[in-house]
Symmetry: C2
Subunit: 109 residues, 2 copies
DNA sequence: CAACTATATTATCAAGCAGTAATATAGTTG
DNA sequence: CAACTATATTACTGCTTGATAATATAGTTG
């Protein structure tokens, strides 16, 4: 796709934007925590040991990006992953990082 | 991976860092331009219509991240993609973005 | 070696963003 | 309805980073 077709600047900006959402350790931590189950904000605050405002802001950002979905129930907001493809993205990155470390290590031997 | 195993903060930081490299339209443009062929800096400057210092800095960043590789020949530096997995990443993001737009569009009908 | 060329680096500025405290909103319970 | 609770928003601060101009580095050519 990126390699074969022409890419408009707008398309590039949208793709970059999506990567930007994933380019933050705290958001990845939230996503990782959310991986298995729907959770409310308080649970996420406890699990990540971050401030409530901070967690809410990250969740809002990811909600806008449609990476998570929200279900409101009384005072609580329950969040869940709505874009499962992020796990594929993370897996790809992980594999690649492992390969790089492997290469570097073998260079030293 | 991200979903199943425990993730250290260091691991999350490394993954986030990799996404950060891809979270910039100009870098994506350079990667896209480099997609098919090895090119030197001048060619990339012309193709992207960006400043020379800017292109060099982005290339340096991606070289450090081992996303591109460099071959020096006389005055020229030739760059090429060294991490093909970035195209898979971009493809995944593209597909997902298309789905989102499709969903939004159908909501309006 | 002097002039030239390609690339890299540095300094600087402006913009964007993560974290936090304070406050607002809105639902709940006595 | 008053006190309480969960979440969202706002204002602010410090840090990071992208773009650019200026300069440095290093190879080339006459």
């Amino acid at each position: 796709m990126l390699r074969r077709e022409e890419m408009s600047d707008d398309a590039l900006a949208m793709i970059a934007n999506r990567f930007r959402v994933l380019a933050d350790p705290m958001r990845l931590k939230i996503l990782h925590t959310l991986g298995n189950a729907e959770m409310n904000v308080s649970e996420l605050v406890e699990a990540t040991r971050a401030g409530q405002a901070n967690v809410s802001k990250h969740l809002g950002l990811m909600l806008d990006a449609e990476i998570v979905a929200r279900r409101k129930e009384g005072l609580n907001s329950f969040y869940r992953i709505s874009d499962e493809s992020i796990f594929e993205l993370c897996d790809l990155v992980c594999e690649r990082l492992k390969k790089q470390f492997e290469t570097r290590r073998s260079v030293l031997e």
